[in-house]
Amino acid sequence: MGMDLRKPIGILFLVYGLILIVYGLANPHPVLGLNVNAIWGVVLALFGTFMLGLSMRSTSSRR
């Protein structure tokens, strides 16, 4: 198998998360008292990191 799908998914979600964190902190726009951009950005970044972690772990165990 040529390509590990978890890698592009992980990268995209990590980048999305970072964009939302930076944008949310720079332009706070609270919804129901929450900075939803920054909070959801953290969730996306964590998910992206998790996918990248899975991908790297399987690459290193194959070696």
């Binding site: 944008y23 129901l32 969730v43």
Partner: protein
């Protein structure tokens, strides 16, 4: 009307998605060396990837928008389309039918019919399926373009053309593998893009208890009103629901529609193919919380607006509320610039996954079942690879043309979808008999399918709906149903029964295929896949039981 304002940051988020989607297509382009790679993903997709793609291919934008709309219109009763109308069939196809689909090495569902029955049964299924897929992808393309232009003020032509070109590019480059990989990405985008709506909606409205206080009692119970058609908003009773939706329509779609079955057939082993629909069933079981609950919240905020705000749902021109705006209005209520980009990306992703599902299924059926079988036989494989790529272009062009036709002639499209529903209704009877009764013959299957389709059309022609109009002229109205849904479910029950009986009678009157020709195709003549040596979470039967128990528990919680 422009309900939503898009800022630069949102465009950036949408554009990044476009880059990754096309990037996946480019990365896979070198692997497309033969038609099997392009049209069947070389049968090397792991179970979890195939499972999420199986679910995602069904999650078109119309599904997302439509299920939220139904949530606002019918409440939690919409969950019947998941817990009754999907999960049992998904378990059945994985545990019982996949051994024959995957084990036969057929490249498509119509090809299975050819192996099991004969050429005419395959031709009937392949032709109707091919026409249906390009048309429905065109209709959903139009629906998406119309929604985006309404919401964002974007040009509808640009929406249709740009999204068609993106889907065309990533499939023409990377074939079915590219479609499947992108469907997995799209699945995660859909989940992460819509989840904040649910959380923020429930937070504003005071949780499930607060929601219950704002909507009618029948909207928060899935079974309490199902004894009679007049005590629930669907207008259908439990028997029509269980047999029509839960058995005939649901099994007819999930167990025989090549659009979804193709994902499982691309799996890398028999065990992975069997687990594909079961893995898909787990998120499917939970999807009502993601798509239906926002619709119910939208209704709550319309009937009892929070803090002196205007009702959330706009009025429809024909009276009543414009339910299709439920999900978009919820997004525009809670999503600031930034998160909004993610939400719009999720909408686009669901649209593309649905369209890519149609295009890849059309490619395979056209290339193998129609072109290779009836037009040009025995050419080299590279010829069929070329035809597959060309079919992607032609299929997309026909879809775009259909989208424009839908824009001009809305009624014709509704009529076509009605005719398609006649063809689909009897299908599961043919597959059930074909797979589990070795005496079933090709003549039996073909005459059953044709008479079942005619029975569905006849049922429609002879019955009416209380207070409703009709797309086609009626011959006579012998029975009046309380709702469209009741008519639809009961029509399916009639079509299935006619197909079942006719197939048996004609099979008994004609001579069956010799048993050695049926090895691998029929129950009893196919070695059972042994999974005794596997861990519990790899055994389809155990996974299936767990999924069914979970679904039963959800039904009880929302009874």
């Amino acid at each position: 009307m422009r309900a939503v304002h898009v800022e630069l940051i949102d465009i950036l988020i949408i554009a990044l998605y476009g880059v990754v989607v096309l990037g996946i297509g480019f990365a896979l382009r070198g692997r497309m060396q033969n038609s099997g790679e392009f049209l069947l993903a070389g049968r090397h997709i792991p179970a979890w990837t195939a499972g999420l793609a199986f679910l995602s291919a069904n999650l078109g934008a119309q599904e997302m928008i439509g299920m939220a709309a139904s949530g606002a219109k019918y409440g939690i009763l919409t969950s019947h389309f998941y817990w009754v109308g999907a999960i049992p069939a998904m378990v059945f196809v994985g545990v019982f039918m996949m051994p024959f689909y995957y084990g036969s090495r057929a490249r498509s569902v119509p090809e299975y019919l050819k192996l099991r029955f004969d050429e005419k049964t395959r031709a009937f299924n392949a032709l109707t399926f091919a026409v249906m897929t390009v048309f429905s992808s065109g209709i959903s393309m139009y629906a998406m373009g119309a929604l985006l232009s309404l919401l964002l003020g974007w040009n509808i032509h640009a929406c249709i053309i740009v999204s068609a070109v993106v889907v065309l590019a990533y499939i023409a480059l990377g074939g079915l593998t590219s479609a499947i990989y992108n469907e997995v990405l799209q699945f995660f985008l859909i989940v992460f893009g819509f989840a904040p709506v649910v959380y923020l909606g429930l937070r504003e409205i005071g949780g499930w208890e607060g929601l219950k206080a704002r909507v009618p009692e029948t909207f928060v119970h899935s079974w309490t009103g199902m004894a009679r058609p007049d005590t629930n908003p669907l207008g259908v009773e439990w028997f029509g629901l269980l047999m029509g939706l839960g058995f005939v329509l649901s099994f007819g779609y999930w167990c025989t529609d090549f659009l979804v079955v193709q994902r499982a057939m691309a799996a890398d082993s028999m065990n992975a193919a069997r687990r594909t629909p079961l893995i898909a069933a787990v998120p499917k079981m939970l999807f009502p919380f993601l798509v239906i609950v926002p619709g119910i919240i939208a209704l709550g905020l319309t009937l009892h607006p929070a803090g002196g705000a205007a009702p959330l749902l706009p009025q429809a021109p024909s009276g009543g509320y414009d339910y299709n705006m439920a999900l978009p209005m919820m997004m525009s209520r809670y999503y600031p610039a930034g998160l909004l980009g993610l939400g719009l990306t999720a909408l686009l992703a669901s649209f593309m996954s649905g369209m890519a599902g149609n295009v890849t299924a059309f490619n395979t059926v056209w290339t193998y079942d129609l072109y290779q079988s009836y037009l040009v036989r025995g050419a080299s494989d590279s010829h069929y690879l070329y035809v597959g790529r060309l079919t992607t272009v032609v299929g997309t062009l026909i879809s775009v043309a259909t989208a424009y036709a839908a824009m001009r002639f809305n009624n014709i499209m509704d009529m076509l979808q009605l005719v398609f529903s006649f063809v689909n209704a009897p299908l599961f009877a043919t597959f059930l008999l074909g797979m589990f009764w070795r005496r079933t013959t090709g003549h039996g299957a073909f005459s059953g399918l044709v008479s079942g389709t005619l029975a569905a059309a006849g049922h429609y022609e002879l019955t009416g709906v209380a207070g409703g109009g009709s797309l086609l002229g009626k011959i006579a109205v012998l029975h009046v149903y309380p709702s469209d849904m009741a008519q639809n479910f009961w029509g399916a029950i009639w079509a299935w029964t006619v197909c079942f009986v006719v197939t048996i009678l004609v099979s008994l009157a004609s001579s069956p295929k010799p048993q050695e020709d049926l090895k691998g195709l029929v129950f009893g003549l196919t070695p059972k896949p042994s999974d005794a040596a596997l861990a519990w979470y790899q055994r389809p039967a155990i996974l299936g039981i767990l999924v069914l128990l979970g679904t039963a528990a959800l039904n009880l919680v929302f009874w």
